[in-house]
Symmetry: C2
Subunit: 244 residues, 2 copies
DNA sequence: CTATTGCTTCGTCCGGGAACGAAGGATGAG
DNA sequence: CTCATCCTTCGTTCCCGGACGAAGCAATAG
């Protein structure tokens, strides 16, 4: 939700380590059914001795992943709550390799990732790259446009003053859901995007919100923001996808 | 979403193992910012030698967590996509210990977990326990009520035939979002819940959908379903919360 | 009471993997 | 061409932690 909840503060390694062991993972997935299971039963399911299972359960308990309830000489373990289950499910989702989407689907998804509109402003890789380019070239400072920025934007035909006059927020960051980085929103974002379309640097693509970067746009943007290496308009680079 | 997406098939341990190492976790959190970073930079940030970082990056690449783009003699690494970022954030959320909710809040949440309504039928721990009790005592078979069940339900005043007559689905499972296990929904679920309230075994609690199990309800339900150990109406048990 | 069962604790062994330095491509600068 | 930089691969060391059996505690049965 909020973009300012950085993860930096929390130690994720210890949490992951709890799940990283195959035996503990087996125990946790067994518990994912929701029922409380006895320690012995879990040992059997995971295929280890009672002593080993006990040690693992102690660690899971300490880590807050499970709770235990004693009933006579049995000890029933269960997942501590929805959060624990959620972690396991997310991990499983990543672990399960994407089941080869259809070419059409993947092509469309791919294009939406590249560039699309978010309401009326540019989003996707292109939107994020544009925002970062503006930041790094000193055009934007906080939620304001610098003198440098004003010149640059005026140069391509953006009426900065006009955008500032509206009741709408001027240049807020808008978090991009695919990139997890901000792009330019608000009145200024809309004004810039309008220009990009007018000049034919982007044009509507296949599908509702898709946009395509044109060759002209690629050329012009690369000239406008030299030194960007990861932007869609940079010269083609060698991409190494993970081995599957 | 769907309850039938079991996690059993996917191996979560290898995925978790990738994040479980402190150095790799440092690398991943550094990349969580979204920017692509050079291998050397990541080594510096993680506080390890270039050789070590390279090995880690190779594993992350193989696991599909990052992608690499070669630019001259540099190699820029970045998170492979939104899924990778999501895993890290969920882990971080769990890793960060719950920031001591106010007593009032936690009490309310606690009560909603215990028993609440889901539309017009019983949910929460009590709802799940009731459903399992009906299952295990042979009252329900699939989406039907057995002869045993019909007698038991008639005994407490539930008009099973009446519930069957409606257009509504008769006795579907309804997945409980806090318990991640099904409770009884549909026409039968509503009929049973109505009886539970009429007889005063539950009564509306504090807050919109909260229900409270009364002493009478506890007594009667324990008598109705002997042998249940984890139900809210079972005799008090020793709970061991995880050490904090 | 003693016997049995269920689980934990203790002591021990052993393998996987994380770390580093040195050497080996690859790329760009002069 | 030659050197410097950036990164990877190789070879080595070393330590963490997961496995088991045996013994130690609870709790129920008879």
């Amino acid at each position: 939700m909020a973009a300012d909840h950085t993860v930096r503060d929390a130690d994720i390694a210890p949490v992951a380590a709890l799940i990283a062991d195959p035996t503990r993972a087996a125990i946790l997935t067994a518990l994912l059914g929701g029922r409380a299971l006895a320690a012995g039963e879990l040992a059997r399911l995971a295929g280890v001795s009672a002593a080993t299972a006990s040690a693992h359960l102690a660690r899971l308990l300490d880590g807050g992943f499970v709770t235990v309830l004693r009933q006579g000489r049995h000890r029933y373990y269960r997942l501590s709550g929805p959060e624990a289950a959620e972690v396991l499910e997310v991990l499983a989702r990543v672990g399960a390799r994407p089941p080869v989407r259809s070419l059409r689907q993947s092509r469309q998804a791919r294009m939406l990732e590249e560039a699309r509109t978010c309401y009326d402003h540019l989003a996707g890789k292109a939107g994020v790259a544009l925002f970062e380019a503006l930041r790094e070239s000193g055009c934007l400072a906080g939620e304001e446009v610098t003198a440098v920025g004003e010149r640059l934007l005026a140069g391509i035909g953006v009426h900065v003053a006009g955008a500032r006059g509206t009741r709408r927020r001027f240049a807020p960051e808008c978090l991009d859901w695919t990139e997890r980085r901000p792009h330019l929103g608000g009145a200024l974002g809309a004004a810039v995007t309008a220009v990009l379309l007018e000049r034919g640097w982007f044009r509507p693509g296949a599908g509702p919100r898709a946009l395509t970067l044109t060759d002209e746009g690629r050329r012009e943007l690369a000239a406008l923001f030299p030194g960007q290496v990861t932007a869609p308009w940079s010269k083609e680079l060698t991409w190494h996808s993970p081995v599957t």
